[in-house]
């Protein structure tokens, strides 16, 4: 009887030792694998299942895996808040042996810079920000170029001359999109106007759908959006109006209503940057590419798009690619009708990056 407890204790102690040894070996196995795959980490602001912004970044991650197979190992952490949690997650990914880390939301800018200082050998890529370092690149896409294309289509196709625009938050990225859309629209249809509704969310299908209904009720016959869910297009389909998708091809949700969709296509960029790390040629860069690079893609035209609208859209696309057309080429008037960009002038990237005013043709005023 008295011997039993100690026997038990020894056995437990042994089990613990074996367990610990197993854990250690499991841990070291992955760290010292033979051909040392390149490890790529991702930090996402939303869940992969948002079918929008984060989903498209994850499609890019999967493209890396498809391209390099066993030579890469990818990891992601989703729904990471842009507050205090971000720094810890980025640091953990760096400490975990990732060679390249993509931080895919603007709010990760300062934590990315901070962690990058601690891990000079790890390469970082921060999406949509403006702070760089020797081991921190920034990358973003000129989605406004896509908005110029769909703005042209909208200007040609609207009958009521009212376009409904569902927007998320009043940040420069979104304002830039609204302006690019409006400028292009007014070039082909000076009578058309854009009405903006801010829903203060990137993803709330119910609210986005309500905003679409509101705009349609107020006479909009075309709906476009800078939020992530397909709800506005679903409403458009139901109400018999037309619109444009966002981030991915949403035609499954609105087969008749979707005219086209601007697609976030990070695949090639992610593959290229991973390759650069593998080859040892990675350098800190500031990438802001548009349609020409493939970062800004388009879904197939929907059934409602006529041949001449397609042709006009293609002209804009090609013009933007060869540089003959710029979405922010003067003359551009502000809402008061004053010329802010003179004939022939092109707004420079610095102004575009921080854009905080509406151009002529947008209804309502931008909250400051």
């Amino acid at each position: 009887m008295f011997a039993l407890p100690s026997l038990k204790a020894t056995r437990i102690r042994k089990t613990v030792v074996v367990l610990a040894a197993t854990l250690v070996s499991l841990g070291s196995l992955s760290a010292f694998a033979d051909d040392h795959p390149t490890k790529v980490g991702f930090v996402y602001v939303g869940p992969v299942g948002d079918h929008g912004w984060t989903y498209r970044h994850d499609v890019g991650r999967l493209a890396i895996e498809a391209e390099f197979g066993d030579k890469v190992e990818t990891t992601f952490v989703e729904s990471v808040g842009e507050g205090a949690d971000a720094e810890r997650v980025i640091r953990k990914l760096a400490a975990d042996g990732n060679d390249l880390i993509f931080t895919t939301s603007f709010g990760y800018m300062n934590p990315t810079i901070k962690v990058a200082k601690m891990f000079p050998d790890v390469k970082f890529e921060h999406a949509t920000g403006y702070k760089r370092a020797d081991n921190v690149s920034t990358y973003s896409a000129r989605f406004y170029e896509g908005r110029a294309v769909i703005g042209t289509m909208a200007g040609m196709m609207t009958k009521s001359n009212i376009i409904g625009y569902i927007a998320s938050f009043p940040i420069p990225e979104v304002v830039r999109g609204i302006n690019a859309f409006t400028i292009a629209m007014r070039k082909v249809n000076p009578d058309a106007e854009v009405r903006v509704v801010w829903v203060n969310s990137w993803y709330d299908p119910g609210k986005e759908g309500d905003a679409a209904k509101t705009l349609i009720d107020q006479g909009a016959d075309i709906i476009t959006q800078h939020t992530d869910s397909p709800a506005p297009l679903q409403i458009a389909q139901e109400r018999g109006v037309i619109g444009f998708g966002q981030a991915s091809d949403m035609s499954a949700f609105a087969p008749d209503a979707q005219l086209t969709s601007i697609i976030d296509d990070w695949n090639q960029y992610y593959i290229d940057r991973t390759k650069a790390v593998m080859d040892g040629t990675w350098e800190s860069v500031d990438v802001w590419h548009g349609i020409d690079s493939g970062l800004v893609g388009f879904a197939e035209y929907g059934p409602a798009v006529s041949e001449d609208v397609k042709a006009a859209a293609e002209v804009i696309k090609e013009g933007i690619i060869d540089g003959s057309i710029h979405p922010f080429q003067g003359p551009i008037n502000n809402q008061a009708g004053e010329e802010v960009v003179a004939e022939g002038e092109i707004l420079d990237d610095g102004v575009l990056l921080g854009m905080d005013y509406y151009v002529e043709g947008v209804q309502g005023s931008l909250p400051k």
Binding site: T22, L26, G83, A84, V89, D96, P172
Partner: protein, 356 residues
């Protein structure tokens, strides 16, 4: 058949054993969950419970994550004991962040010792102001604080968004929605080199002691407890119900506001459109998980913080989606809450068919 029989006295032994039992049950349920997902069980548990705290840095992050939870939960438990249902601590936290952060930005050029104390004061007042609204509406207009405090949380979040998209944004930040980074004079001192563990962790522990003394050694604490059990009886101790409501809400507002200020002046270092991953809501669970006792809250806060860190490390080392960590966290909480039944009840076997 198993049935529950009330104990004469809450079991002290079970108070300690119940969480261990819950852990064991979580392990068993985890075995099933991980097996279903094809994750090696040992690795799963290592990632969730051990890896996050296997380094000094990991431990310090546990403190960073647990501090706001403990600070708020300990204050919430004061109110919950006296049946004041403040569920808007998140909003009070946000207001603390806004008010404290605004001071930091106002004194942006000033490098003086008084900046940080002024920020703390402002954060505390901000949280108290936001908690005073439901207190006023409850005592003056009889409006239920569950609704008002919750609604005020949404309003606070939108207010922060409004300010960070407008007046408080970084003038050199290309109009992006975030403030300037706070200067050193407006940033909390760290208590451990190379980590983010700041004095907020010490303040949290101090608040635990203060609250414990308040509840167990003062007449006010006694009145709060009595009010929770029999609302009218509390008045005999000289405290009207309205005064207790005011105190509960303001105390929580102060603590949550300070926690919010610590977030922006500590690990974040600036104002952002969102400054809290829902600490104010999570703290409600922490308060009850800690059985509304200051010391219990400390353990509950640490467990809750660990479950979040574990979720992150499981995503990194096992490629589990965040959804799995939510399910796992839910299970852990269910077991912890359920196991507490053993403190107040004993299990007895009763043969069916035998008359009692």
């Amino acid at each position: 058949m198993i049935s529950l029989q009330p104990r004469q006295q809450p079991s002290k032994l079970m108070g300690l054993l119940a969480p261990l039992l819950a852990l064991l049950l979580t392990v068993l349920a985890g075995l099933v969950l991980f097996a279903l997902l094809g994750v090696p069980v040992g690795q799963g548990f290592y990632a969730f419970f051990i890896e996050p705290v296997s380094s000094v840095y990991g431990l310090s992050e546990l403190g960073v994550k647990a501090a706001p939870l403990i600070m708020i939960a300990v204050a919430l438990s004061v109110g919950y004991r006296s049946n004041v249902w403040n569920i808007g601590a998140e909003g009070q936290l946000i207001l603390g962040g806004i008010c404290g952060g605004a001071v930091a930005l106002y004194f942006y050029e000033v490098d003086a010792w008084y900046v940080l104390p002024l920020m703390m004061l402002s954060g505390v007042l901000g949280g108290m102001l936001w908690a005073a609204i439901p207190a006023l509406l409850r005592t003056r207009f009889n409006a239920n604080e569950i609704l008002t405090s919750l609604m005020l949380t949404y309003i606070a979040a939108l207010l922060l968004s409004l300010l960070v998209h407008g007046p408080l944004r970084d003038p050199d930040g290309f109009n992006f929605p975030e403030s300037r980074l706070f200067h050193a004079a407006a940033t909390l001192p760290n208590i451990m080199q190379g980590t983010r563990l700041h004095i907020g962790a010490l303040v949290a522990l101090l608040l635990v002691v203060v609250t414990w003394v308040l509840l167990s050694r003062t007449l006010l604490g006694f009145a709060l407890k009595v009010n929770g059990q029999a609302p009218r009886a509390g008045q005999y101790a000289g405290f009207t119900q309205n005064r207790l409501i005011w105190f509960s809400l303001l105390y929580c507002g102060a603590c949550a506001g300070l926690a919010g200020l610590f977030e922006v002046a500590g690990p974040i270092g600036q104002l952002l459109p969102t400054i809290s991953p829902g600490y104010g809501f999570t703290a409600i669970i922490v308060a009850f998980l800690g059985r509304l006792h200051p010391v219990g809250v400390v353990f509950a806060g640490l467990v809750m913080a660990l479950s979040y860190l574990g979720g992150e490390s499981a995503q990194i080392s096992l490629n589990l989606p965040v959804a799995v960590t939510g399910v796992f966290q839910g299970m852990l909480l269910f077991f912890l809450l359920a196991a507490d039944v053993l403190i107040h009840y004993r299990l007895v076997w009763r043969r069916t068919g035998v008359a009692a």
